[in-house]
Structures are given as C-alpha cells and as structure tokens.
C-alpha cells in the first residue's frame, strides 16, 4: 500500500477492466435496441389463404408465417371440420376471430403462446371478446408538450393499471400499443400528471400543465431521496440548467445568489485557482467552516471542478437533516447528483461556448508626475534633499522624450482587454428497461489576463454513468468519471505579478519605445515579462478518477425491503513540474547612444543564474464502502413508514514525493537527469485516515399530513484517541401540512400549500488538526549546519498532547414554513435557524502566557452561536406566449462567540466574547482598529489632541477611546465585521417567449469589510484616489493623509478604520439570452434542436464604498488576481 508502483498498476488494471466492461455493455445496449420489443398480434400481418383444410393444418401454416405458436390437444380439435379463410395482409386478430367464429375455439394468450381450447361454455361470446380485447391494441402515437408547445422529452407515458409504457423521445414523441378505452397516464417532473382515455384516434397531442406544486418533486437527501412535499428538513436545491447559465469554468462560482442560505465569495479569478469560499448559513465555528461536499453519495469529491453538463442537481442540507452525515456535516452538506440515462432513444447533445474574460475592476494608479512629486514629499518629510527637480517632474508631465520620460500605465501594458476562454462538451444518454446510460466528454480552457499569458487552465472530463437491471430484483450501477486538470502558470505567482503591477512605477518603462522589455522592479520582475513563458513554466497536471459501483436489491420475499450497497474508489494523482530559466531584460543608462543615434539598450540576464527544475508528485486515494437496508411500507393506507439503516467505512491514504535539481547546462531538455549534481534535493511524506460509522433514518407520515423524521449517525473517527473515537449524532424533524386539513381546504382555497416544519439536530465536527492527543515531534524545514557543511535534522515538539480531545458539537434548530398560493404559482419558503456550536477545539493561547513556551494543543473550549433566516419566493406567470418566472432569495446569518479563550487583561471593548467571530480567529487582534477621526491639519491641533508619538500634520488622528490622554494599544476597538458577508441575496428572473429565452441573476451581499492598504512609496505607486486627495501643506483640508512611504507611518503600520471599507454590493451576476431555431430549419439540418445564446458573468457591479477593487476580493494591497467578468457566446445542438 505504501508503494506507489503497485498502486498505479492496481489502478490501471481496475480502470482497464472498468472501461472494457463499459464498452461491452454499451455495445450490447445499442445492438439490443431494435430487437427488444415483442410484436403484438395485430402488428403481425398474416398472408394466408386456405380452403377446407384441417384446423391443425391451418394453425401450422399460421405458425410458419406469423411466429405465433398454438398449443392445443388433438382431442379438442378432432371434432372440428375444415375451415376456410381468405384475406391478404390481415391482422392476426382478424384471422383468429375468423377461425374462432368458424370453430367455436377459444384462444388465450399465455406467455407467447396462444392456447387453444374448445369452448363449450355459454359465455363463449364474452370469452372471445375478452380474448380479442386483449389483442385489440392498436398503435398510438403522440406528442407531449408543455404549455407553450415546447416538446417534452423524457415524459413518462403509462397505461394505467399496467406496466406498459414508454418515455417520450427528444421531440416529445411516443408510440405505444394501446387498446381503446385504456387510460394513459402521462407524467413529467414539474408538471401535473394527466390521464387520457384512449378513444379511436391514433395520434394524440398532449399538453402538460406545469405543476408548480411539484407534488411528486423529490429532493436528494443524505443516502436517498425524499418527496419534497412531505420532507421535513430544510433543504434548497437547483437543477443543472441553472448552473449552466453561468459562463465560468468553476461550478463553485455559479452558486451564489441561487440557493438561499448558501453564501459564497470568490477571492480570485485566476484560472485554475478560482474556487469560491462557500458557507452554508454563514460562519458557525472558529475552525473549519467548509461544507461537506458529496457527489453521487461519495464525500470528498470536487464541487468546483465537476463538469456542469453532467450535473443533474445540487442540493444543500442546512439543518438537522444533515445529521445523517454526522461528524462531517456540522457546516452543512452540499449534495451533487450527476445525470443518469433514461429509457428511450439516444439523445446526443453538443454544447460549444466561446467566451472572453477581463478583470471586473482594476485600480487606477497615480501618473508619473504625481508619483515623482510624492517621492519628493517623502524627502521633505524626512528633511532630506529632494530627489527630483521641478524641471524633471515637468519633463515627465510633458512626456516630450518617450525614452527618458515615460508615463507608464502598468495595468494597460501587462493586461490585454479580453482573454479568451472556451468550453465544449458532448453528452449522450438513453437506454431501455434493462440498461440506461449517460456518457459525457468535456473540454474547457481559460487564458489569463496577460498578454502572451503563461497562465492557462485546461480541463478534460469524461463521465459514464451506467444503470443496469440484472433481473426484477437486482440492479447495478457503475459510474466512472475521469478528469484532467492542467494548470499552467508562469514561474512567478499571481500574487507576485499583481504586486509588481501595483508597484509598477509610472516613470519606468514596461517596454522601451522600441518594444524591448524594460528593466525589472526587482528580482528581474518586470510584469510584462514574468507573465509570459520567458521565465520558464510551472505546470500542474491533476488526474482524478472516480469510480462507484452500486448494487440495489429489492428483497423478493418481503415487500418494501431493499438493500443498497456502494463502493467508491477515488484516486487522484498530481504532478507538478516547475522549470525556472533565466530571462533577459533591457536597461539603459539614460545617456549612451548607439551608432545610429538611438539609445543603446543593454541586454542583461535576470532572474535565475542557472535553470532549475522542481517536480512534485502526489497520490491520494479514498475508498468508501457502505451498505444500507431500506424498508418502506404503507400500513392501512394512512401510515407510511420508511426505515433505513446503514454502515459505512472510509479510508484515505496519500503520499508525496518531490525532487529538485539546478545547474542545468542547457534549457533544451527540461528533465531531472539533465540537471547538475550539486544541491540536488528531494523529499516526501504521507498521511492516512480512517472513519467508520453507522447511520439510519426513520420517516413516518400519517395521511401525508403529520410528518416526522429521525436521522442518526454513530460516527467513529481516527482523529480522536482510542476510547473516545465514537460519537452519536441524532437529528429529528417534524412537519404538519396544514393545507391538507379539511378546515384549511374549505377556508383557504387560494393557499393550496401550507406546511410548517421544525427540526433539531446534533452533529459533530472532526475537521481539526490530527493527532492532538499524541505528544509528537517533527523535523523542522530547515536543517542546522554543523561541521562547516553538514546538514543536520532539527527535531521539535509539535505540540503538547491533549488526551481529552473530542468532538465539536453542533446543535441546530430550525423552523420553517412553506406556502403555495394560486395553485402554487406563487410559493414562499422561509426558515429561521439557531445554531449553537460547543466544544469547539481551540487553543488557550490568548490567556496562557507566552513565557510558558508552550505549543498548545486544541482543547474543546469554544462556543459559538449563529442565528439567522433565509427565504425564497417564486412566482410563475404567463401571458400569451410569454411564460416567466421571478424568484427572490436571501439569507442572513449573524454569529457570536459565546465563549473562548480571552486575554484576561484586555479591555472589554477588545474582547471577542459576545461579538462575531473575528476575521482570522487565529489572530483575533487583527480586528482591533484604532478609530480614525480625521486628519491633523496643523501642529496646534496635534498639540491639543492626544496623539501617537511623533505625529505631525497630515497624519491620521486616532481617537483616545479610553480617554486616558494617551494613544496606545488600549485605544483599539474591535471591529465586528469581517470579510464574509452577513446578508446575501439573489433575484432570478427568467422568461420564455416563442423561441427566445432569457435569464437574469442579480446578486448582492452586505455586511463585510475590506482593509485597503497598498504597498506604496519608494517601493511602488499609489492609488490615484490617494494621490488626488492627499494632505499636503498647501491642501491641509484634504480627505486623505499625507504621502507615506510603505508602512513607515504609524497610521500605515497600525490598523485603523481610515482604511476600512464596506464591501456592500449589488451586481448583475449572470445574464443569458438564448434563441431556439425554429423546427423548419432544424429539421433541414437533421437536428432536434439548435439553440444559440449569449451570456455574461459579473457584468456590472455597484459597490459604493469600495472603488478600485472588486468587493469579493480581499487582498488589502491589491496583490491578487482580480475577479473576472465574462462574456460568452454558445450554441447547443441536439441530435
């Protein structure tokens, strides 16, 4: 197990096998498709004529031409004389009818045989009719559409009381053998089920009416599904279609504003590094607040990188309903379900998108004249000679000599207006009653903002979800999904690149007027070069293989009992290769001219002196095995009972290996062997984990009115010491569908849905650092050198042990109502919640003196409460051909530290207890701010005001909060807002009119703050806002303080409210406009459907208090990759 090679072989074998099986089974499935149906009698055209022949003869002739087989005894037939029959192309039943009338014989269908016997009974006529009725089915074709006439593929058409049925194809068409008088039941998720009695018509056009009550809508919950209408937990979900409208390569970026109770912020738009931070019901604990992501029943799979075209739905469990996931579920659970095949004709869909992205907001920087003036001001404030003369500054303003006096817009020089991105996918799905398939291939690519960008993200996906039926009782499912993520970066990080752009001095060249790259800012970093592959490359290839085998057994001998088993094996390989090479920049001394009289640039090597290569490899494996027994019964019509118990084990193992060489003689070969032998380096490590648990659920419904659910999990985790590894986590929820009561139905006919529900649950959290109960020692990263050049390992205590470490416990209370008005055209769902997290594992380092030298373990000391609400309201309307949907949602969460380790001597207004969780709980004092109360105008004002030692005019005034006449650390006040919004909301609007469709998402968030403090001064440029509004002796009533140099001034190195900005914003997050080509065009193209669309992401943002930066990003200095705005065009072809 610890050896990588056998593992790889094992995986390869497994994969090959899986792939072969899939190919084979799909071959079978296609081959079967046409021969699968059994012919009905009337479809069989029988071309026979006979005159006065024995009935046995007649039967055998019919048998020959028709495939019918007759079973009878000679005895019965002996008495029958000869028979006659004439007729071409008669239907089989006509033939039989004729024979029957001549012979008084009766036919019965038993399996595929026609049993023949003499009918001597008086009921002869009736028996024949019965027998004939059975074979009187006729071919009926139909088309199922929605209200607007759009065809509905995948709708189920069933003959009532039978298992005969079919599913509509991509055009909404179906064909079925039916008998006159049969009742067709047509159903489709989201539509009211219709029943139609078959008359004589052989074609039907069935229009389905949207069922806004979604009576039969199911929600995906932990280890199963539940009917939405009777479910008692608090869940939200969206379908894959909504996700697909956002033209982004990362699914985690497309959820915000769509699911009430889920908030997300995206810190960076860097391709491949743009995961959003997702919070369910805000921040609930001091430590890990990440939700558990479960994809197709397997935890730990990526939400961000799943291909949106393979997503069926995303569901969020917000309350006690998550307790079935026990120790991992305290922060909520996000369940992703991928698409599966449905019986019917193969549907092939091709989706192709081309898009362009650019930063949402870029800061405006000072120009050369302002910058140089400000540098002179630094000298003035330090009593040094000024570095620039007025003449020099004037030269830069006038820019007469582009070689000597540039005024460089660094953002403009380094970032192109638009960077391309693309996304293509092809899916195929279909199946029959024995096997269904969904297969998908996808490819995505996204370029960085830079000119000649070395940053690029590519992703390739495939997925194959197969469902097969072995017999009536056993079903198996087999899913394989593979993904390759390719991240290409320059050898300098995005943080470093944007640091250099922000620092870029306007009086320096990005490029010389002749196009050569200008000098570096330092370390060879000229952002126009380090964004390209001129400095080498950094490529990470991540291969992820997910496989799931499911087994479903319906116990044949006990009604309602079934077994469900899953094995999920996920393997990830990561390979990073980083090749750093020297690069060249051009400098000019400002004087030397070449022979042709133009400035002579000197080409100089920068960056590294020698090429160097780093390779990192990692392998991670997760194995999950679970099994569940389900028992569903309805007793006496009123009592519905569903019970499930399960058992699950999960193990993870991973290791890393890395190697380094430098002194490559040449850059021609970028492989390890080609490096020099000196200073070679390598390393490696590993981890393992294991979890084991039992869980279950009991649902009880009385008349679908009174509802209750109990879920539990008995969870064991390797995180804790022996003896306290297991914890029990229950959740209970109850509901009452008031609208089902008679009194309600009679008095409130317009309110057709009214459910109230409440839940309480206790979940755990084991997502903490491992081995807190062990006293362990580890090597530091840096060896100590003895013996002149001998490296020696240095071992240090990692922590003192806490033998009592145990689960963090989340108590979750929820109360919700669901309402539907006017046949549920208008729905409202609202929840209030209260979460109380106790036994949070935290360090006692605020109160334990540093002089103890302790490296503290986490102890179960923290308590945090979190309360809030969320709602969603949706209206479905139509007017003529226009149908539309408007949906608004919002969520609010406010947390409070109820108890944690507090510095005993800190004044009350600095303590965290009773206030929200700090921005960074590891460093709570980061939220202590001096209160800015203006700018010192002059010396008199300073003399009259308590001030920081050394304050001078133009400095920020700090408030003497405790009134002791001295400005010191006790005057800092805790800021209660952090970088996660408290309130997020979304407004979704969509409309369809004839072939057009439009969807719009506005999204906003409030309650977060961002500190803005740029790295400016001699080291780099200032924001234009600052430069324009700064204090100078001439402009002493300015809004901003005087020119600073880096963090030298007290109001730059002491956090204060002057630089704190609210990030409240509203933005047009998403817009999509599509058009379906009319069928007379698509039919000529042999297409079922041809849709073209344009879409946009982050199109417009309104953030009144924050200029220069995007409200979701949070780097104080702006040294991070900005968020992206995308415009996209795409088309969808359906065959």
């Amino acid at each position: 197990m610890k050896n990588l090679v056998p593992l790889v072989i094992q995986m390869t074998k497994l994969f090959t096998y899986v792939f072969l099986v899939q190919c084979l089974s799909m071959g079978l499935l296609f081959a079967n498709d046409t021969g699968a149906q059994i012919k009905h009698r009337e479809q069989v055209k029988i071309n026979v004529k006979f005159h006065n022949i024995k009935v046995e003869r007649a039967f055998s002739r019919i048998e020959k031409v028709s495939g019918f087989s007759f079973v009878c005894t000679d005895e019965e037939l002996k008495r029958i004389e000869t028979i006659n029959f004439e007729g071409d192309n008669k239907g089989g039943y006509e033939v039989l009818q004729n024979i029957s009338s001549q012979t008084k014989l009766e036919f019965r269908k038993v399996n595929n045989n026609s049993h023949v016997r003499v009918n001597g009974q008086p009921e002869f006529e009736a028996a024949v009719v019965e027998m004939l009725a059975e074979v009187a089915a006729f071919p009926l074709t139909g088309v199922v559409t929605d209200e607007s006439g759009e065809s509905l593929p995948g709708a189920t058409v069933l003959v009532e009381g039978t298992t005969i049925g079919t599913v509509t194809d991509v055009d909404g068409k179906f064909s079925l053998e039916v008998e006159q008088g049969a009742v067709l039941v047509i159903s489709f998720v989201g539509f009211e089920t219709r029943k139609i009695t078959v008359g004589s018509a052989t074609t039907l056009s069935i229009r389905m009416i949207m069922d806004s009550r979604s009576l039969e809508e199911v929600v995906v919950v932990g280890y199963g599904e539940q009917r939405k209408v009777t479910y008692t937990g608090s869940v939200s979900s969206i379908g894959g279609d909504a996700i697909r409208t956002a033209p982004v390569t990362n699914v985690s970026n497309s959820l915000v504003g769509r699911l009430p109770g889920l908030s997300s912020v995206t810190r960076s738009g860097e391709p491949g590094n743009d995961d959003s931070i997702i919070r369910i019901r805000g921040t609930n604990t001091l430590g890990n607040n990440g939700a558990l992501v479960v994809v197709d029943g397997i935890p730990g799979r990526s939400l961000a990188r799943i291909d949106p075209n393979s997503v069926e739905s995303i569901t969020v469990l917000k309350d006690a309903s998550a307790a079935i996931y026990g120790a991992q579920a305290a922060n909520g659970v996000i369940l992703v379900t991928t698409k599966r095949g449905k019986s019917g004709k193969a549907i092939i869909e091709i989706n192709s998108n081309l898009g362009w992205n650019q930063p949402t907001v870029l800061p405006e920087m000072a120009n050369a004249e302002q910058y140089l003036t400000m540098l002179n001001e630094i000298d003035t404030y330090r009593n040094r000679p000024l570095r620039f003369t007025d003449q020099e500054i004037t030269n830069f303003r006038e820019g007469t000599d582009p070689w000597l006096h540039p005024d460089t817009d660094w953002f403009g020089e380094v970032l192109r207006p638009w960077a391309p991105q693309s996304y293509h996918s092809i899916t195929a799905s279909g199946g029959n009653e024995n096997i269904n398939y969904f297969v998908m291939f996808g490819a995505k690519g996204q370029d960085g903002y830079y000119y000649n960008s070395a940053t690029r993200y590519n992703q390739y996906d495939f997925r194959s979800n197969l469902d097969g039926k072995i017999n009536d009782y056993i079903k198996i499912g087999f899913d394989v999904a593979g993904r390759q993520e390719v991240r290409n970066f320059p050898t300098r990080s995005a943080g470093n690149i944007f640091r250099m752009i922000m620092r870029g001095k306007p009086n320096m060249h990005a490029y010389w007027p002749d196009g050569s790259p200008g000098p570096d800012i330092e370390y060879g970093d000229n952002p126009s070069v380090i964004t390209t592959d001129a400095t080498g490359y950094d490529q990470t290839n991540l291969y992820n293989l997910q496989s799931t085998l499911r087994l479903n057994i319906d116990a044949p001998w006990v009604e309602g009992l079934s077994f469900n088993g899953n094995v999920g094996l996920d393997q990830t390989f990561t390979m990073q290769k980083r090749f750093e090479t020297p690069w060249f920049l051009y400098s000019w001394d400002g004087n030397t001219l070449g022979p042709d009289g133009t400035p002579e640039l000197v080409r100089g090597q920068r960056g590294f002196n020698d090429p160097r290569l780093t390779e990192n490899m990692g392998a991670d494996r997760q194995l999950l095995v679970n099994g569940m027994l389900n028992y569903n019964r309805i007793f006496h019509d009123d009592h519905a009972m569903r019970v499930m118990v399960g058992i699950e084990s999960r193990t993870g193992y991973g290791n890393t290996l890395n190697a380094f060489r430098r002194f490559f003689v040449s850059t021609a070969v970028d492989q390890m062997f080609a490096g020099g032998n000196a200073e070679r380096d390598n390393g490696g490590s590993a981890y393992q984990n294991a979890r084991f648990n039992y869980f279950g659920r009991v649902n009880y419904e009385f008349q679908e009115k009174y509802l209750a659910e109990f879920v539990w999990r008995y969870d064991g985790s390797y995180i804790f010491p022996q003896g306290s590894r297991f914890g029990f986590f229950p959740g209970i929820s109850v509901g009452w569908r008031v609208s089902e009561e008679d009194f309600w139905k009679s008095s409130m006919p317009n309110v057709d849905q009214f459910k109230i529900r409440a839940s309480y649950g206790q979940t755990g959290n084991d997502r903490i650092d491992e081995w807190q109960y062990l006293a362990s020692y580890g090597f530091g990263n840096i060896p100590y050198i003895f013996g002149v050049d001998q490296e020696n390992q240095a071992l240090r205590e990692l922590r003192i042990p806490n033998p009592n470490v145990t689960w963090e416990v989340a108590n979750q209370y929820n109360f919700g109502v669901e309402l539907g008005f006017f046949n549920s055209r208008l729905t409202v769902e609202a929840d209030v919640f209260y979460n109380y997290r106790s036994q949070i594992l935290w360090w006692r380092n605020a109160s334990i003196p540093v002089s103890t030298g302790l490296t503290l373990p986490r102890e179960n000391i923290g308590e945090v409460s979190n309360r809030g609400y969320e709602f969603i309201t949706t209206y479905n309307g139509n007017a003529g051909d226009l149908t539309y949907q408007i949906s608004a949602n919002a969520g609010y969460a406010l947390n409070r530290v109820e108890f944690w380790d507090e510095s005993p001597g800190a004044p009350q207004y600095q303590q965290t207890t009773g206030r929200p969780i700090p921005t960074n709980p590891f460093n709570p004092n980061q939220d202590l701010y001096y209160q800015s109360v203006g700018i010192f105008r002059d010396q008199e004002q300073i003399d009259a005001t308590p001030h920081w030692p050394g304050a001078r005019p133009g400095d920020i005034i700090f408030e003497d909060v405790n009134g002791d006449g001295v400005i010191d650390g006790n005057d800092r006040v805790r800021n209660e807002r952090n970088n996660i919004p408290r309130f997020t909301g979304g407004l979704n609007m969509s409309a369809q009119w004839k072939g057009f469709d439009l969807s719009i998402l506005f999204q906003g968030a409030t309650g977060a703050v961002r500190y803005v403090s740029t790295e400016s001064g001699e080291i780099g440029n200032y924001l234009k806002d600052f430069a324009d509004n700064r204090w100078t002796p001439e402009n002493s009533s300015a809004d901003f303080p005087r020119t600073f140099n880096r963090t030298d001034e007290y109001w730059m190195n002491q956090r204060n409210t002057f630089w704190l900005n609210s990030t409240d914003y509203v933005r047009l997050k998403n817009l999509e406009l599509g058009y379906n080509l009319p069928s007379f065009i698509t039919s000529k193209l042999a297409l079922q459907k041809f849709r073209i669309y344009i879409s946009g992401f982050n199109l417009f943002t309104y953030a009144p208090d924050l200029r220069n930066f995007d409200p979701e990003s949070d780097s104080a200095s702006g040294q991070s990759y900005p968020l992206q705005r995308v415009i996209n065009s795409g088309l969808t072809l359906t065959f």
Binding site: R382, N383, R384, P385, R387, I474, D520, E522, P556, N591, T592, V602, G604, Q605, R606, N609, D610, V625, G627, S649, N655, E679, A690, S717, Y718, E770, A775, S776, Y777, G778, G780, I782, Y784, I785, F786, G787, V788, D789, Q793, A794, L795, I800, P849, V850, S851, T852, G853, L854, S903, P904, G905, D968, G969, N970, I1019, R1046, D1048, Y1050, N1053, Q1054
Partner: protein, 600 residues
C-alpha cells in the same frame, strides 16, 4: 434463483467484514512525525532535538541587521527601523521586534516569544534526559552540556534585552499555573553563570569534524564572560534613568559592589584566555586584507562559536544572504544596512589620529590613509569592488563603486547634465535600494560570489576571540589595571596594522570604546554596548552621510576629484525607556504578575 444466493453470500461477507472493523480499523499512526516515546529512547533523535535549540542562537545575517537599530548603519528601506532609532517602540507595538512583524527575524529569534519557546525545549530536554538510555555516555554528557550552554545563552539574551525575566526551569503541561513573575536581574544572571559553569564542565575543549559548530567549553566560558561583563556595566548599577521605578531589582543590582563584578568579568575572560586554544587571526598579509579574510573564511584561529551557512539551506528570503541584502544597488543588490557617517568617521587615520571633516586635508581625501579595517569594512566612492553584472559591465568595466554624481557639460544642448553613479539613489538600477549615506557594507561579504544570484557560505561568528580580549581589556580598565589592558588592546590594534594606544584614564577608556566599535562593527555588540555604557542618549543622533559630487571645473571639464559634503540622512532620537525593550501588552494581559519595564 442462483443469483440471489450469490447476493446473500456477498451480503454476508460484507456484514462480516464491516462488523470485524471497529476500533482497530480507526487506529492510524501519523506518517510524518515521531511519537514522544520514540524520541526519548533514541539518542540520535535526541541529538536532533538539541540541534533545534541551536536555532535559539541567531546569526546576524538577516536583511535587517542589528546595526540598523543603533549608530552603525541605516536600513535604506527603513522597514520601520525608525521606530527603534527614534525610541518609539512601545508595549502596543514592538515593530521589528514583534513576532508578527513581516521581517526582522533577527529580533524575533531573540525576543520574548522565541526565547521562551526555546527555553521550554531546554527544560523538556533536562526533564527527559535523565531517563534516556544512551549507548554512548559521552554523547549524553556532551548533549547535556550543550543544552546548559544554550539555556545560558538564551537567558543572557533575554536579560540583556528585557532585564529580569521569569526564570522558568520546568516544562509546563496543560492546566498548570502559568503566572510566573519576573525574577530579579541578579537571579537571572546567577542562573546564566550557573548554566555556563555546568556547560563548561561537561563540554569538550573542541568539537571536531561534523560536530564543529557545536558548543565547546570555550563557548560556555565566553558566554559567561560576556554575561559578567554586561552585568558589571553602569546600566545595571545606576537605575536612576528609570525615574523612581518601584522594582529596581528587575533592571539592576540592588546590592553588592560593581568593582567585584568587574573582577568577576575579568576572571571569566581570563579563564577562557588561559585555555590557550585561540589566537588572533593573522596570516601575515596586508592588515586590511587579513581583516577582510577573517570574516569570509570558513574557519579561523579565533573562532569560539560560529554559525555555519550553506547556499542550499535557505531559512527565509530575508535570512542568510548578506551579499544580496547589503550590496550596492548597482549590483542588483538591495543596499541594505548602509554604514552611517558616524561609524565611518570613527575609523581612525592610519597614524592613530582621529579623522575629522573639519580638517581640510581629511575632507579633501577622506578615504586616504585610514585604519586598514576601514577598507575591509566599507565600500565608498571609488572603492574597488567585484565585477559588475552583465548589463552594467559596459557602463563600469572595472567594478568601481559609484556613489557620486558627475556634472557633465552637454555640448550639444549647451547645458550641465548630472550623471548619477550606478550605486546612487538616482542610479539607473533599482534606485530605491541606493544608499543615502554614501557607503555600503563590505565586511562579511564574499567578493567571489555574484550575490544577485547566489548565497555566500560565510559563517557568522557568534563569539570570536577578539571579543573576549576586548571584554578582558574593558574589565581591566575599569579595575584600573591599565597596562594589562593596553597590552591586549594593542595586540588587537597591531593585528589591524594600527599603532599602539598610550593614553590613560578616561582617554584610555574612550580609545578602548572606539576600538571596540571599530573592531566589532556590525557584529551585534554595539546595540548592547551603547546601552550598558549608558552612552545611548548621545549616540542616537541624526544619522549622517556624505554627498559626493564631481564638479564641473572651468573649461567645462568634470573634475576627477569629487567634493564631499556631510549631510543628515535620517532623524534619530533617544528616550531612556529604550534601555530595555517593553514586554508586549498582550503578554501583560495574559500574566498579571508581570511588571512592565520602566517608562512604558
């Protein structure tokens, strides 16, 4: 139903399999760390545990050197060193001394947090080592000696920075009483001496081969000598600066007599000298060359305790690369801790007289005929240095330092152009790293290394023999044993190629102090010397530098000889509270039994 049977079998197997898993299934071991038991039964691991404590003795090759907190140098980027040089450090904000500060790791390694973290490591070792089984008893004793030495070193460090600190000799567990109050200055000093004595007893005279760089008997005696010398100094006998501080025992002696302490300091230094293991480094070369080599050689005869560095071992971007940090910007280096005028000026003339800008001969040629150590310590206008980087070789093929500006007549435009030297703040390369003072550091920097790309491998000499001799000289002077003092003082001067000192009394003391300043420049002594001598109020004076200009002479010819102007480059100020560093407000808030240092 054959398939159903198969299913039952699978189900049964599955059930058996899952139920067999329980506690054992969850038993996992960390794969990237050692359990406590494994460590204390393995002498090799115990040795690596001791290795880690060695990091408590920081070297000086950090981007922000201690010299920039005192009157030796000025950090060109400031990086908030002004807080220290203007006495603005306060309990609410320690700046470069704060463990959260973004650079300044030199200070972080010496401060309260790191000091006590390493003290804990020493205490763990002392508690565990008794039980540990060693095959090699010598190794055990040696390691015990090393940890005694390290504990002495750390407490001496804390004592010098803060005065008396909590004297913690146990390794705390969870749930104990942690409110330890500060011990008196005398108590901590006594502990330092006791630890040093224990170490000296157990440690070998010399460490060989792969153990070089570990503590020796000499190192233990040297730290003891240093601690006793500091303790004998005025600062710890004259708490009047603290203006009625109610706990003078924390910051000074309250009993005993200073002379006996000078005697103890002298005896301690003498004890080391009498080992006869060390000698001044003198390879008979030109004294300047010899002095330069002393700091770029891997081993010398005066090394008592050194910290080796390797190019391939990178602690941090701001540690261990003095050539890059301090080299001129015209070499794509960072300027760094540029010597201030006052330090350069304190280097005597070669004849032993004081350099003086008011002397027109000196002022016209300030860099001629100076103490040979001047040329080994500084880069200045016209100094020969290493080859320029490729892109500047055309502009300066010879590698001559250019901190000056040339007035050049532009015939075409009929005007005077100012051409800025490559190593100035107006130069074409990374101008923000250019010196304000007109000097760059040369001491410690290996001229054979291209510092923009490579780290040098020069060890940092934490303790060298010359320091012990100077300590001895100082104690002798204070004891009135002037001829003994001069013998050793002049030995050091002779090695430097300087004439002997002949003064007596106060003048001798002055010459000694200047000698110590010159000889030990940038070696992390001055910060403490100016405090313990209580001369800080006068030396925290505005930093000076020199402006170098090649004027245009009549006939529009640029003068080959520059003119020099002394300029102010950085404001500095002193407040008496800066004799000691404050205890951080956060720590005061955690431990109510702590008493803050005076005037904070």
């Amino acid at each position: 139903m054959k398939s159903n049977k198969t299913i039952y079998t699978i189900l049964l197997a599955l059930t058996l399999w899952v139920s067999s898993c329980s506690e054992e299934y969850l038993d996992r071991e960390p794969l990237d760390q050692y359990a406590e038991g494994a460590v204390w039964n393995d002498e090799k691991l115990i040795e690596t545990f001791v290795n880690n404590i060695y990091f408590a003795v920081p070297h000086g090759f950090h981007a922000l050197m201690m010299s920039s907190l005192v009157d030796e140098s000025m950090a060109v980027w400031d990086w908030e060193t002004s807080n220290a040089t203007k006495s603005l450090v306060n309990p609410s904000y320690l700046g470069v001394w704060d463990e959260d500060f973004w650079t300044g790791r030199r200070y972080q390694q010496m401060n309260w947090t790191n000091g006590f973290r390493q003290i804990r490591n020493c205490n763990i070792f002392m508690e565990k080592i008794g039980e540990a089984e060693f095959a090699d008893e010598n190794l055990k004793n040696r390691l015990i000696g090393e940890v005694h030495f390290l504990r002495a070193f750390i407490y001496h460090n804390l004592l010098s920075i803060y005065g008396g600190v909590p004297l913690i000799k146990v390794a705390y567990g969870l749930g104990e009483d942690y409110e330890e109050s500060r011990a008196s200055y005398a108590e901590v000093l006594a502990f330092v001496v006791e630890e040093a004595d224990k170490a000296a007893e157990l440690l070998p005279l010399q460490q060989f081969g792969s153990n070089m760089g570990r503590a020796t008997k000499g190192a233990a005696l040297a730290i003891k000598a240093r601690a006793l010398l500091y303790a004998a100094s005025d600062l710890y006998h004259n708490p009047s600066w603290a203006q009625g501080f109610s706990h003078p025992e924390l910051i000074s002696f309250t009993t005993g007599d200073q002379m006996s302490r000078w005697r103890a300091a002298k005896d301690a230094a003498r004890e080391l000298m009498d080992l006869g293991l060390y000698a001044l480094h003198d390879n008979g070369e030109d004294p300047a060359e010899n002095f330069q080599q002393l700091f770029i050689s891997k081993e010398t005869s005066e090394d008592i305790y050194v910290r080796f560095l390797l190019q391939r071992v990178v602690e941090s971007w701001d540690i261990g690369d003095p050539g890059l940090y301090n080299g001129p910007n015209g070499y794509h280096n960072w300027g760094g801790n540029t010597p201030i005028g006052q330090l350069a000026d304190d280097f005597e003339m070669a004849d032993g007289s004081r350099f003086d800008w008011n002397n027109p001969v000196h002022a016209a040629d300030p860099y001629g005929s100076r103490d040979p150590r001047f040329y080994a310590t500084f880069l200045y206008e016209g100094a020969q240095w290493r080859q320029r980087p490729a892109n500047l070789r055309d502009a300066d093929p010879q590698g001559i330092i250019q901190v000056g500006q040339w007035e050049r007549y532009n015939t075409a435009a009929n005007r005077v152009d100012i051409v800025n030297g490559l190593d100035t703040r107006q130069g074409p390369i990374e101008d923000w790293n250019g010196t304000y003072t007109g000097y760059y550091l040369k001491k410690f920097i290996d001229p054979n290394v291209d510092h923009q790309y490579f780290r040098q491998e020069v060890p940092w000499r934490v303790m060298r023999y010359t320091e012990v001799l100077l300590n001895y000289v100082e104690a002798c002077i204070e004891l009135g044993e002037e001829s003994e003092a001069k013998t050793y003082l002049n030995m050091i001067r002779a090695r430097a190629g300087m004439p002997p000192v002949t003064e007596t009394g106060v003048d001798l003391k002055k010459r000694y102090r200047n000698e110590r300043r010159v000889e030990l420049a940038y070696e992390d002594h001055r910060y403490f010397d100016v405090r313990r001598w209580m001369i800080a109020p006068s030396v925290y004076d505005d930093a000076k530098g020199v402006r170098v200009r090649y004027p245009l002479l009549t006939g529009n010819i640029t003068s080959p000889n520059p003119t020099y102007t002394v300029i102010n480059v950085q404001e500095r100020a002193w407040q008496d509270r800066s004799y000691l560093l404050p205890i951080k407000l956060d720590e005061m808030n955690r431990n109510f039994s702590l008493i803050q240092n005076p005037l904070y």
